[in-house]
């Protein structure tokens, strides 16, 4: 990081003296070059992280990141900011744990405070079936060397005193697990922090540049057609959650993906009242409180395909009924803002990271509801895959071929929210 760009309490104080008029732009707005060593399509967290790790881990700095709008405004800026790595299958645990570990050092690495708040993530069980599934997951996670515990009802009550633990509720809470390293991070900061750090290493971030097609010769990608002209590159990585099928269609193949709305909402700001992240599969809700004081909530996906970034109100009614059932004191709290993202959903609720039928074209998609928590790990292994033209070992199970062989990594239900 160049010296005059570095962030710290001291640079903040120094700049306060001249009314903050000397801060540099966090990233440049360069004109596109005719060709690059690699192009990343998609300026969300995954694309930005990939560009950063290409430059940092693999020394590939002649990179263009192409984004059709401003960066970070798709799912990266629309999620509920939950971070965790408590996944059932070894393959999933590996990639999400890599991600969580990278998150743990990311503020310092990027010199940008991502406000990682590891306040613990609690999953509730409401039936013997839930309890068995949670127990299975916790055991698997622990043997993978990742932190996870069961909570006694007394511990749960102490941790979340406002939770309705009445045995008379419709689906009484009968047990819970916790990943203490789970929590939240500031979503915008992830995009901006990676963008600033990637730019600093030479990556050209080209905003307002839309890809309109791929130039493919003899099964090899040669570059991308964009609204700002053709840009050549021997390697193109695509990370455009929500629009993966659209880009795949441009490259001439189909994906096992459907695009669905995923809705979220925040309440008006409240003084601190809830200090963990909570999820309940049975009553379909996850909830945390942001540093601004808003209760942040999300639910399951809307069932129909959509590219509209909006869903149907019954989902909201369900989340809020579930929330009031779990937290009766929130009945008079108000929903302030509600929105939707477009998530790629794979049949096994696991991502696709790897090579495609087109040589030199790489794909990163299908994260479903797990996109935000996987950003650093995904970018890390995707950068490796692009640089080496060979999947990173953690990415290897997430190939497109698994749909032919049948080696699916079925995380249905493993996200804790029914799909």
């Amino acid at each position: 990081m160049k010296k005059n760009k570095r962030y710290s309490i001291f640079s903040l104080a120094r700049n306060a003296r001249n009314y903050h008029e000397n801060w540099a732009a966090a990233w440049r707005s360069p004109e596109p070059k005719p060709s690059y060593d690699a192009i990343i399509v998609g300026g969300g967290g995954h694309g930005l992280a990939t560009a950063y790790y290409l430059a940092k881990q693999h020394g590939i700095t002649n990179v263009a990141l192409i984004e059709k709008g401003p960066i970070g405004l798709g799912n990266t800026g629309r999620n509920t900011t939950v971070i965790r790595s408590n996944y059932l299958w070894d393959e999933s645990a590996a990639i999400y744990e890599l991600s969580l570990k990278l998150y743990e050092g990311l503020s310092q690495e990027l010199n940008y405070n991502i406000m990682l708040s590891q306040r613990g993530l609690v999953s509730l069980a409401h039936s013997q079936h839930d309890l068995r599934e949670i127990e299975r997951r916790v055991n698997a996670i622990r043997l993978n060397g990742i932190d996870s515990e069961m909570l006694s009802m007394a511990e749960l009550k102490q941790l979340i005193p406002i939770l309705n633990l009445s045995p008379n509720s419709r689906y009484p809470v009968i047990g819970a697990s916790i990943q203490r390293r789970g929590g939240t991070a500031r979503h915008d900061a992830i995009a901006w922090g990676y963008a600033r750090a990637a730019d600093d290493r030479g990556v050209d971030i080209l905003q307002h540049t839309e890809v309109t097609g791929f130039r493919i010769q003899g099964g090899r990608v040669e570059g991308v057609e964009t609204t700002r002209g053709f840009i050549a590159a021997p390697k193109v990585g695509v990370a455009v959650a929500g629009h993966s099928s659209v880009l795949a269609d441009m490259a001439g193949f189909r994906l096992p993906i459907s695009s669905h709305p995923l809705q979220a909402m925040v309440s008006e700001p409240l003084k601190p009242i809830f200090n963990t992240v909570l999820m309940s599969a049975a009553v379909h809700v996850y909830l945390s409180q942001s540093d601004r004081g808003e209760l942040v909530m999300g639910a399951g996906i809307d069932k129909f395909n959509s590219y509209a970034q909006r869903g149907s109100p019954p989902i909201l009614e369900d989340i809020l009924a579930a929330t009031v059932e779990l937290f009766p004191i929130f009945s008079r709290v108000k929903m302030m803002r509600q929105w939707g993202g477009i998530v790629d959903v794979c049949p096994d609720a696991s991502p696709i990271v790897g090579k495609t039928p087109v040589s030199g074209l790489y794909l990163n998609c299908g994260w479903g509801t797990g996109g935000f928590k996987s950003i650093p790990g995904s970018g890390f292994v995707f950068a490796h895959t692009i640089a080496q033209d060979e999947p990173h070992e953690i990415a290897a199970p997430f190939s497109l071929e698994r749909f032919s062989t049948g080696a699916l990594i079925d995380e249905h239900g493993a996200s804790g929210v029914a799909h």
Binding site: R254, I257, S258
Partner: protein, 93 residues
């Protein structure tokens, strides 16, 4: 909340229906003759268009009949409702 015209019951709220995803995915007649990749194409690969999508819906909390619709996945406008087994329009994707 979509308002869907059930061909048998009339217009009803989306909440009464279940969405069955992309329509016109016929089950291969002779699965054994397909390669793994061809079978995967039937089983998993989807067009997932941004624009007009032909999809299946079932009036689950009504007549329980399945039918097809053409819907714009950006505006959510429903352009056509038609019977199961009826072909999609030429112009449809």
């Amino acid at each position: 909340m979509l308002r869907i015209e059930c061909p048998h019951c009339g217009a009803r709220d989306e909440a009464e229906f279940s969405c069955g995803g992309e329509a016109h995915i016929a089950r291969p007649k002779e699965p054994d003759k397909l390669s793994d990749a061809e079978w995967a194409d039937y089983l998993y690969m989807r067009t997932n268009p941004k624009g007009i999508l032909a999809e299946r819906w079932c009036h689950t909390f009504g007549c329980r009949r399945w039918f097809n619709i053409e819907r714009d996945t950006v505006s959510h406008e429903i352009l056509r409702v038609y019977a199961m087994g009826e072909p999609r329009r030429e112009s449809g994707t």
